[in-house]
């Protein structure tokens, strides 16, 4: 594409704005999503999910990263209830939530080069004794997770299947886990159980 010399600065500015717009549209998130530890208590008819997530601001200036919480709901799995998000450190606080465009959302402020740990908690009915935890939303972050730990804690149930191979903890009363490093999931975590 031939560009007149007088237009080159304008073209470069437009290119910069294009990249900035991509960044701002969420294609290139500002914060980095580095680690997560998911703990799911599995009851006969419901699950209780506690996710701990680690984010980092790589820039030398403060940013505000908007976050939405993807919830796995379909005809057989009702919407989760008691959704809660809070910052664990460095400044423990509960986040206010709002549902915009079909997603629960909140704002995460990060100071320059700061790492933040936050927790998301929800309760979901599982009438068919199976459930799904959404992992594929890691992909829009553009980088694999440095590490991820995913725990299932049976509460009066026996775990049946998981699409990610689980390792049962010795003496852990059926507690099972899978761990990943440099993890860029290409499928969600689906697991099932039966009541004891």
């Amino acid at each position: 594409m031939a560009l007149p010399k007088s237009r080159i600065p304008v073209g470069l500015l437009a290119l910069f704005l294009l990249v900035a717009a991509s960044l701002l549209s969420g294609w290139l998130p500002a914060a980095r999503f580095e680690r997560e530890q998911i703990n799911i208590q599995v009851h006969p008819d419901h699950i209780v999910v506690d996710g701990v997530y680690f984010y980092r601001n790589p820039y030398p200036f403060p940013i505000v990263q908007g976050l939405s919480i993807p919830l796995p709901a379909d005809d057989l799995h009702p919407l989760p209830a008691q959704l809660e998000a809070e910052e664990l450190w460095p400044r423990p606080q509960a986040f206010l939530l709002r549902n915009l465009l079909g997603q629960a959302r909140f704002d995460l402020p990060l100071r320059a080069r700061e790492a933040v740990c936050l927790r998301v908690h929800y309760y979901q009915q599982a009438p068919n004794s199976d459930a799904r935890y959404i992992l594929t939303t890691t992909r829009p972050w553009m980088r694999p997770l440095q590490s991820g730990e995913y725990w299932l804690v049976p509460q009066g149930v026996t775990l049946l299947r998981s699409n990610y191979p689980l390792r049962t903890m010795p003496g852990g009363r059926g507690v099972a886990v899978f761990q990943q490093t440099q993890f860029m999931p290409d499928q969600d975590w689906i697991f099932s159980w039966r009541a004891q």
Partner: protein, 320 residues
């Protein structure tokens, strides 16, 4: 050719289509407060609709000094970044950009409404005032008037004005709008209250042979203080049957909804629970919309809740 004849216009089109293709199911959303999207969209929309309407052919006549262009770019960049530091700033920046877009839209309508004159006789047309900082001899009124379709200018101008007003409205409506503030605690208290009612009903059945429930009312203390907390907010409705053998508790959306059309951007949970110990929920867009009886069950009272309620209630029943 008019539309795609410059690099900038192509970029604007690409940005526009990027925004159109962004899926809503991302774990992340744009950096900045949750209401920053109108701020992000405003200038690309202005550029795109100006290009679609052929407005750049006219604007190109306006010669601005390099200094003015640099200052304008710096100011816009600073404003843009400022908007990502706080929700209130984002609203202000959206309003500023929105006013700029609105002015552009109105000017396009005016340009389109005026009869086009031949370039050589364009001495007095259009009567657009020169921009501050522009030399009088370079004002639009003294330039040859390009041939631009009038209906395109008017249509794009109207569309740009509508989009600007819509996006400005969204910034005003959603700033500091956090409707789910009490939802988590209210559902937790509802579950505890249901457990207490179930325990009370079982005790009544043992004593009288009939299951009756405790008719909750404002101002209660002791083991029923959950009901006091629940009823403190005006969004909880309680229906008891005359013989107290059945009850239904509704938690309606706490916050009022934004006006049309913005209410379609959001929703809130409406809950329903009864003596079965099941809590049902639907997402609604009307503040007084109650949850239907066949809505999905999202939570149930568990044995552990019953045990806790028994600990709370037994001392009270012993006192009675």
């Amino acid at each position: 050719m008019i539309l795609f004849n410059s690099f900038i216009k192509r970029c604007c089109c690409i940005v526009f289509f990027i925004f159109c293709l962004v899926t809503p199911a991302l774990a992340n959303q744009p950096p900045g407060p949750g209401v920053s999207l109108p701020q992000i969209l405003m200038l690309p929309m202005m550029a795109l609709l100006t290009a679609l309407g052929g407005g750049y052919a006219i604007l190109r006549l306006r010669k601005r000094s390099r200094f003015i262009r640099i200052v304008r770019g710096v100011v816009i960049t600073i404003l843009f970044l400022l908007g990502f530091t706080h929700e209130g700033f984002s609203m202000l920046v959206t309003l500023i950009f929105g006013v700029l877009a609105l002015v552009r839209g109105i000017r396009m309508i005016v340009w389109g409404a005026k009869p086009a004159k031949p370039a050589e006789s364009a001495e007095s047309e259009p009567s657009d005032s020169p921009e501050p900082g522009a030399s009088p001899e370079k004002s639009l009124s003294q330039q040859p008037w390009p041939k631009v379709s009038r209906w395109r200018l008017i249509t794009a101008g109207i569309l740009l004005s509508v989009v600007a007003i819509y996006l400005m409205g969204s910034a005003l409506v959603f700033v500091n709008y956090w409707p789910d503030t009490y939802q988590y605690s209210q559902v937790a208290y509802l579950k505890k209250l249901l457990a207490s009612e179930i325990v009370y009903g079982r005790a009544q059945k043992q004593q009288t042979g009939e299951t009756r429930f405790h008719r909750i009312k404002p101002g209660e203390v002791g083991p029923w203080y959950y009901s006091e907390i629940l009823l403190r907010h005006g969004n909880v409705r309680v229906d008891f049957s005359p013989d107290d053998k059945h009850f239904t508790i509704y938690i309606l959306p706490y916050a009022s909804f934004p006006p049309w059309p913005y209410r379609f951007w959001t929703n809130q949970g409406s809950y329903r629970a009864d003596e079965s110990g099941e809590i049902r929920m639907v997402r609604v867009r009307e503040q007084h919309q109650i949850c239907p009886p066949d809505a999905p069950v999202v939570m149930k009272v568990e044995d552990s809740d019953i045990q806790d309620a028994m600990k709370d209630l037994n001392p009270a029943q012993q006192q009675q």
